[in-house]
């Protein structure tokens, strides 16, 4: 019922929603509502960013300054006590560096309704995800005299993982290039070539052989959150986990931003950067406005590619030669620029500082004209 009032007051959608919600809750009549919206609009317009504002520098300072107050301690837990997660300054650096292999990848997997309510069903999904090696479900021994490896699967462990003897046998057969056969409930691997090294190599290979689940995911922990079961994993592989039956991939996330970028695209990556950075800062009890983090995330993703903050990304791909030279790799940048006959147009900040001209930001972006004769 308040929609039409907004026609004259173009407020952002989020704000509109908030106002409407509040108005409806209090059942405000239309005339008062108009007054309220008018006032909101007035305040909103007053609180807008000024043109010419150095939004980037403010954002960089707002994120960099609390960096000094962050802890260095790498390991801690965030919500799930069983899983270690990198936090604090190292994590923030990791996020802004867009590391392809973060030090502690982790996933939060939510399940489809038919699996989420039941612990057993959730366990089932977890078994499909968690990497199970031969070593987890069987005893492995070497028989040096006969050049054999004897794998004795433990029925209890197999049952717990919802696996059958045949599954193990099939996997072993497939991946080992030696003779494999079954002998009274045991899997025997006969090494053809009489070489001790070969035996030990195969032994190691069999031990680590993944028979079920996803290789990267080392551990899955099931926790009840509200009225549903949620899986937390150590290790991450978004692409494969999304395909697993029972997983609600619309609500499944990983803390590996690069993976999100590759699987879900640039917009998802931008949101991932914002969420991860904000979570890291919040966990340390540091208050930073989202808008600053958004700006950083947008600068990293603006041209459709996920670029890191630093020499191999945003700062290194600056148009200006002088700005690049002033940042890092001074000599190389200058040599390269001269070969290419590059021109520095002196549009940025550092360049103009270097040549000693006013910069085009804030008060440097405007000029004053004196009105002769004074104002009347």
């Amino acid at each position: 019922m308040y929609e039409e009032i907004f026609k004259d007051y173009p407020l952002p959608e989020e704000l509109k929603k908030e106002i409407v919600e509040e108005l409806e809750r209090r059942k405000v009549d239309k005339k008062t509502a108009k007054k309220i919206i008018e006032k909101c609009y007035e305040v909103y317009m007053k609180n807008l960013m000024e043109p010419g504002e150095a939004a980037g520098i403010v954002a960089a300072q707002s994120i960099g300054e609390p960096g000094t107050q962050m802890t260095m301690r790498t390991f801690h837990y965030a919500g799930v006590a069983e899983i270690n997660v990198t936090l604090g300054l190292p994590r923030l650096i990791e996020i802004l560096d867009v590391r392809k292999n973060p030090s502690t990848p982790m996933m939060t997997i939510r399940l489809l309704p038919e699996y989420a309510k039941d612990r057993e069903k959730a366990r089932e999904v977890a078994n499909r995800i968690e990497a199970t090696t031969v070593n987890d479900v069987a005893d492995i021994a070497t028989d040096l005299r006969n050049m054999r490896i004897i794998v004795t699967p433990d029925p209890k462990a197999l049952e717990k993982k919802d696996l059958k003897f045949a599954d193990v046998l099939k996997k072993v057969e497939k991946s080992v290039k030696e003779e494999v056969f079954e002998e009274d409930g045991k899997i025997i691997i006969q090494i053809k070539e009489p070489s001790y090294k070969k035996l030990m190599d195969t032994f190691d290979k069999v031990r680590k052989l993944v028979i079920a689940g996803i290789k990267e995911i080392k551990r899955v922990i099931i926790r009840k959150e509200g009225d549903e079961y949620v899986l937390y994993t150590e290790g991450s592989n978004l692409k494969k986990v999304m395909k697993v039956k029972g997983v609600d991939f619309t609500r499944t996330i990983t803390n590996n931003i690069y993976e999100i970028y590759e699987v879900l695209g640039i917009e998802a990556a931008r949101n991932a950067v914002i969420n991860e950075a904000l979570a890291t800062l919040e966990e340390q009890g540091l208050e930073v406005d989202v808008r600053h983090i958004m700006l950083v995330a947008d600068a990293m993703t603006a041209d459709g590619e996920l670029k890191q903050i630093g020499r191999h990304g945003v700062a290194g791909e600056k148009q200006s030669i002088l700005a690049r030279a002033a940042f890092e790799m001074t000599v190389n940048n200058l040599l390269e620029a001269s070969v290419r006959g590059e021109v520095d147009k002196l549009n940025g900040i550092t360049e103009n500082i270097i040549v000693g001209q006013p910069i085009k930001l804030g008060t440097g972006d405007v000029e004053l004209v004196l009105k002769l004769g004074g104002s009347k």
Partner: protein
């Protein structure tokens, strides 16, 4: 008048012709000065290259030292040498072009395809490194020239400047000849602009000699001349160059010539860059590596970061800071000696000529130090010329008068991590030798008074002064752009003081009230609440502007059911129409980072009013704390005997429990937690038990400490310290940790922390549990573990500062060119890329936001509804 702007700078490679053309002198004599101290002609200090010694005149332009910018000379190299910076590119080019005909090893169509791709990316302003790399990769693999059909042999590049074709070594002369053959049309495919450079120029035949102004020699105290590193290196080059020439003319054997050629190459290489891998750096006689061209540009103290991006300034001062609560937050106390040295220029006009003249004639503090005539001559004002200068003074002159009260200055403390690290203050000239500032502005600077120093700068132009006053003044920075809350506010004693004043219903007689508000300008004193006596809350209300607020104070205990106004702890603050009705004022109300009241005043009445409030608030708080008296001593942590016994019991029990856990672990009865090993489970359980014991001991201690204990007051009101600090003093320090684990490493390899324990001891004491309190004192073993834990903290801080500093530098560099445009978009200025269509998705300034929200909808609705009713 708009000043001239440089519109762009183009980068190109110098050609030999260009080097000769810009040269004023051919240099071939390795000597610099003759015996009688005059520079030798055609030597490295040739007077045609410019002058550095005062008194002499430049032979090229006739300028004196300081006027003449210097002129380049040149050295004709007897044999060509490779430019190290381009050595790798040369290798790629040799492999990418035909060894016979010099054409690119690609068919023309393919070449054109690559070129057009590069052109397109160039036009879009995007990076084309990848394509150039691909061209080099593709061409290197080609075995036969598609143009002339010649077989290709791979050229092996050996760092830093050697090339081999099979076993045959290519001389720089061979290399140059091959590069000469590459036609201009093929160059764009390699990312080379033929207009900017020719590949054969990467092989030097002429070397430019920089002017002497670039490499001035210094005269030591002994009167000896000490030459610049560059001059030393150039001397080496000329010497070898001449030797090579002589040997060649004399018809020396090829072997000797080759050795000399290599030596020349070495000297030219190290002249350009003395940190090339693969060859030893050239050294000074003293053994210090020489600082040559690349080293001058590189790094933090290099030309780019050290001299061009950051510059040294005049009109600045630095000294130790100390607190002065009598100053306003936007003032700074400047020592008189400093004020007498720093100056502000007065541009003399017919309107202010009398004022300026007065300053010249004055003999005491705010007097003129210098006058500057329109011709630029700067004359010191001294007793002898005072009258004369005042007489001669005319419009157009500039009088530099000493800093005085009311001048605007910039005040700064490093590290300047955010914009609040440099703010504008008004000067108050004071005696003694430290800068004085109100302690309420410590949080934005992150300053304390344990010996911190700060810098002060005097803006010299009217524009700069205006900008400082309007944009940089302290009160404009009360709200932080980081989170939209106040960053300036009460600290330490301000909070304790107001807490004591406003807690409960304390009564004050008229005399007492007058004493408390003496430094504050209170216009109206309200009626006393109880028969001639005022309450503390009333006194605080006197400095409050008309605001209405309700919030939970810092001391809020977080009861299950909030009683609101009737809070039994007096922790629910109610302010109505500028009157504090209920609640205690503490950190949440007026503290830096939190201060809800300050936040409200800035938004409702603006920065000026907020500044006044903070000034008054700090004054009142200090009066209050002095009125009550406030001290913390060692006996504040005293706890009665029965408490000590209880704590003792808890500790014993905890240690026993730990022993039990260890027993269970050893017997194999410990159930591992999911996904953890047995050892990890044990560690976690022990940590839990000991952590709980510390907490329990703390609880007991705090029960006995009571709310009138000064240390407790500081902790609960948020003034300083925490309850944890207190319990560590009174009850138990607790577990010491390294990397979040109990201390396990230590004494030799015997699996124990100290020789006091048996190997493998996992007990509480053996792994760094400190059961004593700070007050009671630590046992030697405990002391050791405490030091171990403490050391980690120190290392942590040291590592963190460097890491976060680099992170900040990268962030600034990546984001500095982002600007909000008039249309509300955020764009990158160099490329014009739109980064955000609307800043922060709603365009709201975080500084003006209400802790993140653009509009405080609930407040507005409340206000409008209240207005409607009332």
């Amino acid at each position: 008048m708009t000043p001239k702007r440089i519109s762009g700078i183009k980068f190109e490679v110098l050609s030999p012709q260009e080097i000769r053309r810009m040269s004023v002198a051919k240099i071939f004599t390795p000597e610099t000065y003759s015996d009688d101290g005059y520079p030798i002609e055609s030597g490295l200090m040739d007077p045609r290259l410019g002058v550095v010694d005062p008194g002499l005149r430049c032979r090229t332009c006739g300028g004196k030292a300081g006027e003449c910018p210097g002129h380049f000379g040149h050295i004709e190299l007897a044999a060509p040498v490779i430019h190290v910076g381009y050595a790798k590119l040369i290798a790629r080019l040799l492999n990418g072009t035909c060894r016979e005909c010099g054409r690119i090893l690609l068919k023309d169509e393919r070449r054109d395809k690559y070129i057009s791709q590069i052109e397109k990316l160039k036009e879009l302003g995007q990076n084309y490194d990848e394509i150039v790399k691909e061209v080099f990769r593709v061409t290197k693999a080609v075995k036969k020239c598609p143009h002339c059909g010649a077989d290709q042999i791979e050229v092996k590049f050996e760092k830093p400047t050697f090339y081999y074709e099979g076993d045959h070594k290519l001389t720089p002369k061979d290399v140059r000849e091959r590069l000469e053959k590459i036609p201009d049309e093929d160059l764009p495919a390699f990312g080379i602009d033929p207009k900017a450079c020719r590949p054969e120029w990467f092989v030097l035949t002429v070397l430019p000699v920089p002017p002497v102004t670039v490499r001035p020699s210094i005269i030591l105290e002994t009167g000896q001349r000490s030459e610049d590193d560059l001059t030393h290196k150039l001397v080496d080059i000329i010497r070898i160059n001449q030797r090579f020439l002589e040997n060649k003319e004399a018809g020396a054997p090829q072997l000797i010539l080759e050795d000399l050629w290599e030596l020349l190459q070495y000297h030219v290489t190290t002249y350009l860059d003395n940190e090339v891998s693969g060859i030893p750096p050239a050294r000074h006689r003293s053994g210090r590596p020489l600082k040559t061209l690349a080293q001058r540009l590189k790094g933090k103290e290099g030309r780019f970061r050290g001299s061009l991006s950051g510059k040294r300034v005049n009109f600045s001062a630095r000294t130790v800071i100390s607190p002065d609560p009598n100053l306003s937050i936007n003032e700074v106390g400047v020592p008189k000696v400093i004020a007498e040295e720093l100056t502000v220029p007065i541009y003399v006009t017919p309107n202010n000529i009398e004022e300026a003249r007065e300053y010249i004639l004055r003999t005491e503090h705010p007097k003129a130090n210098y006058v500057i005539r329109p011709d630029g001559r700067r004359i010191r004002v001294i007793d002898a010329n005072r009258e004369e200068l005042a007489e001669k003074l005319e419009p157009g002159w500039i009088v530099e008068r000493q800093l005085k009260d009311g001048d605007i200055v910039l005040f700064n403390r490093q590290p300047s991590l955010h914009r609040m690290s440099i703010m504008a203050h008004y000067v108050r000239v004071l005696p003694y030798k430290t800068f004085r500032l109100n302690p309420a502005v410590c949080p934005p600077y992150n300053a304390d008074f344990d010996g911190d120093e700060m810098n002060l700068h005097v803006p010299q132009s009217i524009e700069a002064q205006a900008e400082a006053k309007i944009l940089m003044a302290v009160q404009e920075h009360i709200l932080s752009p980081r989170f939209g809350g106040p960053i300036i506010g009460g600290i330490h004693d301000h909070i304790s003081g107001l807490y004591l004043l406003t807690r409960g219903e304390k009564l004050f007689s008229k005399e007492e009230v007058m004493e408390l508000i003496r430094p504050i300008n209170v216009e109206k004193i309200p009626e006393p609440k109880y028969d001639g006596k005022w309450t503390g809350k009333q006194i605080f209300s006197m400095i409050l502007p008309d605001i209405t607020l309700e919030f939970k104070a810092e001391i809020c205990q977080g009861c299950e059911k909030c009683e609101g106004e009737n809070c039994p702890h007096d922790a629910y603050v109610v302010i109505r129409n500028g009157e504090l009705i209920k609640g205690t004022i503490d950190e949440k109300a007026v503290g830096a980072f939190k201060g809800i009241i300050i936040d409200e005043i800035v938004r409702k009445y603006g920065t000026e009013e907020a500044k006044k409030f903070i000034d008054n608030m700090t004054q009142l708080a200090i009066r209050a704390i002095m009125f009550f008296g406030f001290t913390v001593g060692i006996d504040d942590e005293d706890i009665p005997k029965e408490a000590r016994e209880q704590i003792e019991e808890i500790m014993n029990e905890a240690e026993k429990k730990v022993e039990e856990l260890i027993e269970a672990y050893k017997a194999g009865n410990l159930e591992p937690m999911p996904g953890r090993s047995l050892e990890e489970t044990l560690e976690m359980k022990i940590m839990q038990v000991l952590g709980k014991a510390r907490d329990q001991a703390g609880k007991i201690a705090s029960q006995y400490l009571g709310m009138d204990n000064a240390a407790v007051i500081m902790a609960v009101s948020g003034a300083r310290g925490s309850m944890l600090n207190l319990t560590q003093m009174a009850a138990c320090i607790g577990q010491q940790s390294v990397r979040g684990e109990r201390i396990r490493r230590g004494y030799a390899y015997s699996n124990r922390t100290l020789p006091h324990f048996k190997p493998g001891d996992l007990g509480a004491r053996a792994r760094g549990f400190v059961r004593s309190s700070y007050k009671r004192g630590l046992t030697p073993v405990e002391f050791f573990f405490h030091a171990v834990g403490g050391r980690e903290g120190l290392v942590d801080t040291a590592v963190r500062t460097s890491q976060s500093g680099y992170l900040q530098r990268r962030l600034i560099n990546a984001l500095q060119d982002l600007k909000v445009e008039y249309d509300g978009t955020v764009r990158e200025q160099t490329s014009g890329i739109i980064v955000q269509f609307k800043y922060g998705e709603d365009g709201v300034d975080p500084m003006k936001s209400f802790r993140g929200r653009g509009v405080d909808v609930k407040r507005i609705i409340k206000e409008v509804l209240a207005e409607k009713e009332g």
